[in-house]
């Protein structure tokens, strides 16, 4: 391969890694060193910031809370999206196209528009400050996305598979779970990946809908940023830790990422 072709991705990846490096580097510095001036590498290498996060319950609970609602949301989104995507990929019914478009429009709703009404809604039904509130709120954009991705994968499965199963005497639920779902396993993986991703990175709604009991890591970080003054090291360490769950998830789906994108349909 020509040199310039290897160089372009390499330079791009370097560009991607620089801010991440800087975040990591900051997280290993003491507050004094950070405020003392510029240094490329941590001079006083310290784990102080990480130790604080792992020993202070308000910190590590933030992570646990976030992971909890992300997992709940992923499970809900994929579970309800499966039958719906099946209906869209296999049947025509009254208003199907409009319904599909309406679902997608919710992907276009700016969270900033919904932040305040969401707060009122979930307060009104007594779900404010619970994991389930955030998980449900994130369904707004994750369910349309999951339906969209799954529908693409399901349309790639020939209808003969369904017909064969009926001929063999499978009931619908048994066919769906035993035969159909394994056939689109990679699609389910990709949909789950995207739900996880969007729920994990979204911070405005999660911050709005939690306060103490289910406080998300975003809310914790914002509080640190505003009340604890200029504790950049601590903030950097907290930020660095939020990269880990995403990195683990990407590692597992690395072979499906490119494929999953291409199968989603417009």
């Amino acid at each position: 391969m020509p040199l310039h072709q290897r160089l372009v991705p390499a330079v791009y990846i370097l560009f991607l890694m620089l801010p991440i490096y800087w975040l990591l580097s900051m997280s290993f510095k003491t507050t004094n060193e950070i405020l003392g001036g510029f240094s490329l590498f941590p001079q006083d290498f310290t784990l102080e910031n990480y130790i604080e996060i792992f020993t202070d319950p308000t910190w590590y609970r933030g992570y646990l809370n976030s992971i909890t609602y992300v997992v709940i949301n992923t499970v809900i989104s994929v579970t309800v999206a499966l039958p719906a995507a099946y209906a869209f990929s296999r049947y025509r019914f009254l208003g199907d196209k409009h319904l599909f478009f309406w679902l997608l429009t919710n992907r276009m709703a700016p969270p900033a528009v919904f932040a305040l009404p969401f707060f009122q809604l979930y307060a009104a039904i007594d779900l404010y400050d619970t994991h389930i509130a955030v998980a449900l709120a994130h369904c707004l954009f994750n369910i349309p996305l999951a339906v969209w991705i799954l529908e693409g994968f399901m349309s790639g499965v020939p209808k003969q598979l369904d017909e064969m199963a009926y001929v063999d005497g499978y009931s619908f639920p048994r066919f769906f779970v035993r035969i159909f779902m394994p056939a689109i396993a990679s699609g389910i993986g990709v949909a789950a990946f995207f739900c996880f991703m969007y729920s994990w990175v979204e911070m405005l709604l999660s911050k709005t809908l939690t306060s103490v009991a289910a406080k998300s890591i975003a809310a914790t970080m914002t509080r640190t940023a505003s009340t604890a003054g200029y504790e950049l090291g601590l903030l950097a360490a907290a930020g660095a830790l939020t990269i880990i769950p995403g990195a683990i998830v990407i590692y597992f789906v690395r072979n499906y990422i490119a494929k999953g994108f291409s199968l989603g349909r417009v």
Partner: protein, 288 residues
């Protein structure tokens, strides 16, 4: 393409999705509509205001400015990210052990929580102690994104390019890997230049994924909030106050719920309208 059977009872499969999404979409939307057309002084007492708030928002310089800034931001990042993403995807190896390494590293920014992206870039760009800010200043470039609008804009755009170009790369790469080898062989036999291969094979075959990429980038850049509020807070002054930030300032900062709700609806409507136009035009093109 599967030919579908007509079956009205398929609605039952869709009901859970409708219930969940409608719960999250319609009730809050009704709240917004309530506020947009009425005035309230608390206690659930409302007075009909009609289109007053809409007129007020549409006629305000503040909204115009935020809207213009938004259009500028979205255009700039689309103009950078789409060609850049396609170029990088074209340079990626097609197979081999490096493919997964590249993909994993490139996907990393996509999975970082948005407030962390903002915080990361804030730390990275700080003029005195950030790697970017310090390097620029020591090269003699006067750079301070907390003070200078131009620096703030440059940083914002750079952050968005950093955050989202990979999405375009991954989509374009998926489109490219789906092109059968025979097309490239035929092009070699036909004596096509590199440019001709791109123009007549790669670009047409990437059209669908690029449509998705442009739509997603358009929608998400129009909704950008968290990263920006953490990085610049909309400043200095109002220089990086895009629509979302302006909206939240209006609603939560000043508690002007009426105008905020009216603005929400206008905002949502604009996103829908542009997406719809874009979608229709692309589909028309497809059918020709």
């Amino acid at each position: 393409m599967i030919n579908k059977t007509i079956k009205q009872s398929a609605w039952f499969f869709v009901i859970p999705v409708i219930l969940l999404v409608a719960f999250n979409a319609l009730i809050p939307l009704m709240t917004v509509v309530n506020y947009a057309f009425q005035e309230t002084f608390g206690d659930n007492v409302f007075f009909w205001e009609g289109l007053t708030w809409f007129e007020q928002v549409l006629n305000s310089d503040r909204f115009h400015d935020a809207f213009l800034r938004q259009i500028m931001f979205t255009s700039v990042i689309l103009l950078i990210e789409v060609p850049l993403g396609v170029a990088i995807a074209l340079c990626m190896p097609r197979k081999g052990p490096w493919v997964s390494v590249c993909l994993v590293l490139m996907a990393l920014p996509l999975l970082i929580p948005w407030n962390v992206v903002g915080a990361m870039w804030n730390i990275f760009a700080l003029p005195d102690i950030g790697l970017l800010g310090y390097s620029l200043n020591s090269m003699g470039i006067d750079y301070n994104f907390t003070q200078q609008p131009i620096s703030a804009w440059a940083t914002t755009i750079l952050m968005d390019v950093w955050h989202w170009t990979s999405l375009v790369v991954l989509l374009a790469y998926a489109g490219l890997s789906a092109i059968p080898e025979a097309y490239y062989q035929a092009a070699r036999i036909d004596g096509a230049s590199k440019w001709a291969v791109f123009r007549w094979i790669q670009l047409p075959k990437m059209k669908r994924v690029l449509t998705i990429a442009i739509l997603l980038r358009f929608m998400d850049s129009f909704m950008i909030y968290t990263e920006l509020i953490v990085l610049t807070g909309g400043g200095p002054g109002n220089s990086t106050t895009l629509l979302s930030i302006d909206l939240v300032k209006l609603a939560l900062g000043q508690f002007d719920l009426g105008p905020a709700a009216a603005m929400s609806l206008i905002y949502f409507f604009i996103v829908l309208l542009i997406c719809w136009v874009f979608y229709t035009v692309m589909m028309k093109n497809e059918q020709q």
